[in-house]
Structure formats: C-alpha cells, structure tokens
Amino acid sequence: MVMKRAVLNTVIVLSIAWLPWWVTAIFILFGFAYFHSFFEGVAWGAVMDILYGAPLEKFGGLQFVFSVSSLAVFFLIERLKRNIRFYRR
C-alpha cells in the first residue's frame, strides 16, 4: 500500500508540472477515495496554489481555491467513508 501511495504521489507531482489542472484534480480525488487519510492530497492542493495561484475576479479574489477545495473534499470523503460499509471492511 505504501508503494502504491508513493507511486500516486509521484504521478501527482508530474501532473502538477506537466498536465492540465483537472487531471491533477482527478488524481487527488482518486487518492482521497482509495487511500486511508490521504493528507498528501491537501498538501498537493496547496502546492498548486503556491505555484500558480493568483487573486482572480472569477474566484472572488481568492488565491487559494485548490487548497480550500481539496481540504473540504478531504473532510467530506473521510466522513463519507465512515458511513459506507465498503470502507469498513
């Protein structure tokens, strides 16, 4: 499991540098769903904002959209996991 986690983290780093943002978002979402407490996903969201973030009008001047949304999705998915029988096994 640790190996799989390391591979996904490497893939996320490469996708942050090379691929469109929505591909990175899909990888992070997969990590949240597949691994137990995928904290790294929130950290990668913060890295996206640190690298590319700008206070744009479309986000109401917020520069940390990826960090805030990845944190919210992380807590939401962790809460859902506790209530879904599939994850309790």
Partner: protein
Amino acid sequence: MSAFFVAVAGYAVFFSPFLPFATEIAHTAFSPLWNMSSSFAALTDDVRSAFASKERLFAEIRNLERDLRDQKLRLLSADVLKRENELLKRELGRSRAGDRAVLVASVLAKPNRSPYDVLVIDVGFSDGVRKGDRVLYEGVAIGVVSDVFEHTSRAVLFSSPGEETDVVIYPAGITATAKGEGAGTLSIALPRDVDVAKGDSIVLPGISPVVIGKVDSVRMEANDPFRSIFFKGPVNVYTVSFVSVSRNPLSGADAGAEAGVDASAAE
C-alpha cells in the same frame, strides 16, 4: 485538534510573509520539470515532422511562403508608419523609448496547468521585472505581471475570466473596459449606437499603444440598449514558449513599490 493544526498551518503558509518564500522554493523545485516539458514538446515536434508526408509538407511550405509575402507587404507600410510615429513623438518631446526596456522570458508553465489562467515566466525581481509590467508576444500584449519573485514571475492574462482591462478601440478612438471571458477571448459592452465593426483594432491606452486584439464579432439583441463586442488576441496563449516583458508606461516608478517581493528582501 486537527482542525486547529490545519488552521495554524494554513495561516503560516498563505497569510504570512512566508508565502513569497514558499513560492520561490516551489518555483525553483519545479523549474527542472517545466524545462523538461518544453524539451519534450520540441522533441515530439521533431519526431512528428520526420513522419509527415512530403506532399503535405510542400503544400504547407507553399502556403507559408504566400503568407510571408503578404505579411512582408503589410509590414512595409507598418514600418513606414512606425518610423513616422516615432519621429513625430520625438519632435513633440514625447519619446518614451527609454521607459520601454524589454526582457525576453521563457514560459515555464502555461495557462492550462492551473485554473487561474496564469503564465509562469523565468524572469523575476533580479532581472528588473516589476508588478504591473506588460507581457507581450511578438509585440501583442497578452497579460500583465501579477506577482514577482527573485527569479520567476506570474502573469495574469487579459483573457482570464473576470479580469478587467482598459482599452481603446481604433479607428473610432472609443475608450472602454474589456472583460476576460477565458480561453483567450475578451468582451466589451458598448451602447448600441456606437459604431464598431469586425476587424477594428483593440489597443491598450498610452502614448505608444500596444495591440491586444481585433474585433471578432459584434452581437446585438433587438431590445438590448447595449451591443457586445467579442475579440481574441492573434496569439494562442496555450502554445507560446517565449514572451517579452516590457515596463508598463502607465505604472511608472510606482510599480516597483508594489512589487510582490520587497526590494530590501531581494537584496
């Protein structure tokens, strides 16, 4: 308890003087990966051209030669007008050549890498870049520098959704505010009786106007007192590898004071 740590970590990273430092480190760490991406793109272009059919290449060369001939002819008159313009400004004491130092920069990250529609370029405070400087490609303005770090900068495109830019529409000479619509497109809302036609030039205001695009379409509803003008820059921002950064003549000396990195910190 964990929420408390998240809040403290969030504050430490995003709402403290640590943010420019963290960005500097992140840009330095990611620069080799970004450079690898550019080299890989150049390599795939070479491989693709090696397998392209000869007929298609000959046809493409013929088309390009015809385009080049047309452009040269247009450039001839443009050169004459430019020289005349410079001469008139010098005569009137309005030559701004000294203010328009231009830097060439390599694009490290293109707009599709993030939802923010920004370019990351490899020149920063140490190269003389200041917040508010204009980012140009082949003389066409595409954005403005929003954050400056020691060796890198971030530039927001004029076409970023919601971004507002003051522009002048030629030849009518109307001053308006263009709003970014994303994907390289901008729009302007004008009263319906204002005369604007497809192909009119849109420039940034100033003594030396810089083109940002040409009117692409004009839309008007029967009962709407306004008409919507849509335009695109002649540059595909998703494919640019190099840009130039020029001092914004409107921001003047104040631009340095607003720079994302403090001058003393940079030293």
